[in-house]
Symmetry: C2
Subunit: 424 residues, 2 copies
């Protein structure tokens, strides 16, 4: 049997009891004959507590030192998991990102993995030991400095390691049973998906489904690594995320719609009265790009011929809102727009499914379901396998429920689930 990489999030290793439970699960996998490599996040809220400590010392910690500080979190959890496995009579060796060969660029706080050189991991497996690896961290290629990969990146560490080791599967454990057709806190009849393609999972993650980080799914897609998302609190099968090119994908019975995702983290900015000349829109978005603001959806009104003016609306992360408004305000005289409007009482609701390609009429059905539920659509954006709308934040739940019912996504029986974050 081959290598299995398992990743456990912060909620799974939040205390000694959780660590022992996880250790038992790891040992069971080992006993089935697999070589096991485990990636762990920091325990519970450790990372936030360390950030708080840093904030007590300085409002602007140097990124190098913040990375040094935060990496202590996984160091603690990985050593404890290794100890708990030893207590069960199996050998485990813990490795920092650096020791595990996670080579990154030099951008502290959001470094990118550029290579995996898992020599020490392979040695541990050859010796019959279980390897425990710190998620979320690496070492920079040029400067040999400790780096972190950014929030949610332990998933990425796991998938990257799985790819480098040629693992059979990368199992991502959290406190959630899998990927659901919608957030079960909003739609009580939401159904756990047995399988979903990486293509659909990418759109779900990009549209607000928090169960997997976007970068992790991108990595899995690039390296054709199947992911099994499941709960560390039960032994139930979770959701398999099947690479588009894998044999599994071909066998997959493709549902038309995989699920409904929503996102309440965006805000909308409208630039009112923009002169309808070539290059004006470009100037606006160049300004935002230079300020490192990420834009999501963009809509430009049809120009009113009489005035020669148009309005441009776009959405962006709320956290960038103030920054973007400032950058645009400084450019008012240059662009010559009339005024800026800011609205953070919005939400995005997205319908995702690979079956959209071959099934016309999905958009009409989606919009008519929203209309019947009294939901007003403010903006629309689509991809080949996704339709997203911006609605009033107060109507997000209604919109998700309406779409979920309209496309018959409801489960026959309601499963008892807790839907939460996945740690990082």
């Amino acid at each position: 049997m081959g290598i299995v990489v398992q990743k456990y999030g912060g909620s799974s290793v939040a205390d000694a009891a959780g660590i022992k439970r996880v250790a038992q699960r790891i040992v069971n996998t080992k006993k089935q004959g697999h070589d096991v490599v485990v990636v762990v996040s920091a325990m519970g809220d450790t990372t936030d507590e360390l950030r708080d400590l840093a904030e007590q010392v300085t409002p602007l910690p140097p990124p190098r030192e913040l990375d040094m500080l935060l990496t202590a979190g996984e160091r603690i959890s990985m050593a404890l998991v290794a100890m708990a496995i030893a207590q069960l009579g199996h050998e485990a060796r813990s490795y920092t990102g650096s020791q595990a060969g996670v080579i990154t660029d030099s951008v502290h706080g959001k470094a990118k993995i550029i290579d995996i050189r898992p020599g020490r991991i392979e040695e541990a497996l050859k010796d019959g030991a279980i390897a425990i690896v710190a998620g979320f961290q690496g070492v920079s290629q040029d400067t040999k400095e400790v780096t972190t990969l950014g929030r949610g990146a332990s998933d990425t560490t796991a998938v990257a390691l799985a790819a480098a080791l040629g693992a059979e599967v990368c199992e991502i454990y959290s406190d959630v049973d899998g990927v659901f057709t919608a957030d079960p806190r909003i739609v009580h009849t939401a159904r756990k998906l047995e399988k979903v393609s990486t293509e659909e999972m990418l759109e779900l993650a990009a549209s607000g489904a928090k169960i997997l980080h976007l970068r992790c799914v991108e990595y899995a897609r690039r390296y054709d690594m199947p992911i099994h998302v499941r709960s560390s609190f039960s032994s139930k099968e979770g959701t398999w995320i099947i690479p588009d090119n894998s044999p599994g994908a071909a066998e997959m019975e493709q549902a038309i719609i995989a699920g409904v995702a929503h996102d309440r983290s965006e805000a909308k900015i409208t630039v009112v009265g923009v002169p309808d000349k070539v290059g004006e829109a470009a100037r606006i978005f160049e300004t935002l790009a230079n300020s490192e603001v990420n834009i999501d959806m963009v809509v430009q009104n049809v120009s009113a011929a009489a005035t020669g003016l148009t309005d441009i609306s776009f959405t962006l992360p709320r956290t960038d809102g103030q920054h973007a408004m400032g950058a645009l305000a400084r450019l008012q005289s240059e662009i010559g727009y009339d005024k800026l409007l800011y609205d953070d009482q919005i939400g995005k609701v997205s319908l995702i499914g690979a079956g959209m390609r071959s099934h016309p009429g999905i958009t009409a059905k989606f919009f008519s379901a929203l209309a019947s539920a009294g939901v007003n659509i403010e903006m629309i954006s689509t991809s080949e396998i996704r339709i997203s709308v911006i609605v009033d934040e107060a109507q997000v739940d209604t919109a998700v429920q309406a779409a979920h019912s309209a496309f018959d996504l409801d489960a026959d029986e309601v499963e008892a689930v807790v839907y939460g974050g996945t740690g990082r």
Copy 2:
């Protein structure tokens, strides 16, 4: 001006306020024109808290993983100190023991430093930065594993780094003002020593003075590195520990007696009725050595000619008491002794001073002071510059006070001091 190495104990960096205070002191030293290298312990009780976590997971953590776990403590404190220095407008870079080039043997939990290769530290100093180094930890030469040096070893890290960097001085900061003529909690008139020789400091440390770890003083002596022991809570001069061969030592006005130390951590075992034959004592102490029990003082009674039997008493750490009794009990038939007596209600009181060499009569004066105070002496041991006696534990305070008065060690004015541990 040269390099100054400063070491701050856990009590000095126990919280954000302490870390900021320490950062200010470091920056002040830098502003005086020194290159500054700082060694830090883990914050406050962090190490004990991490040990507790390990205990919750397993009673017997693998030493490799325990070292991985505990080294997270200094990682946190060093990053925070570096951040606090940055907040004051100076550049600081933190380094783990491994990054700082602290090369050790492979004995997890009590590794010995075998080399210091401070290339990255020297580079940081060349760039004008302040280097912050994790105390207590290193990396093993052969296996490249993370190791710890044992309790109190941050002091040793500091002195070893100071020696490798050719520093002017190694400053050891804690919550104590310096080395005192006796524990001020017992002798209220105890006086802070301005200077003490490494030779005397070695005897003080070995006799129970907790302010500096024995290994650290041994290192300072071997490399002729002056140590300045002082408080991080005041700007007062502390105590200088002057290497025996340094110019400072020759200038030193040698007091006859440096101080009185005491130790309540030992127990006494008496082997009663040992056949007075060649090799019997050797067999007893071989047995103890094989059980890795450290013996301190040994006394053998004059043999009673009539019986051909003798008694052998020795002291040892209380923590080894049960282990040693067991090892000896298993050997009873082989040695043929009569019985074993165990007493952990004892204390050791030691008088230390290089002046003893040239001043006869010190022993007589010491013993007569104890007799006047009604203290009974159970065992005696001496070195060239030290006299130690074992007394009833309940009489330790009385004995220390009597010796302190007899040798005129009292201060003219009582300094307000807190005498405590030094972190590690």
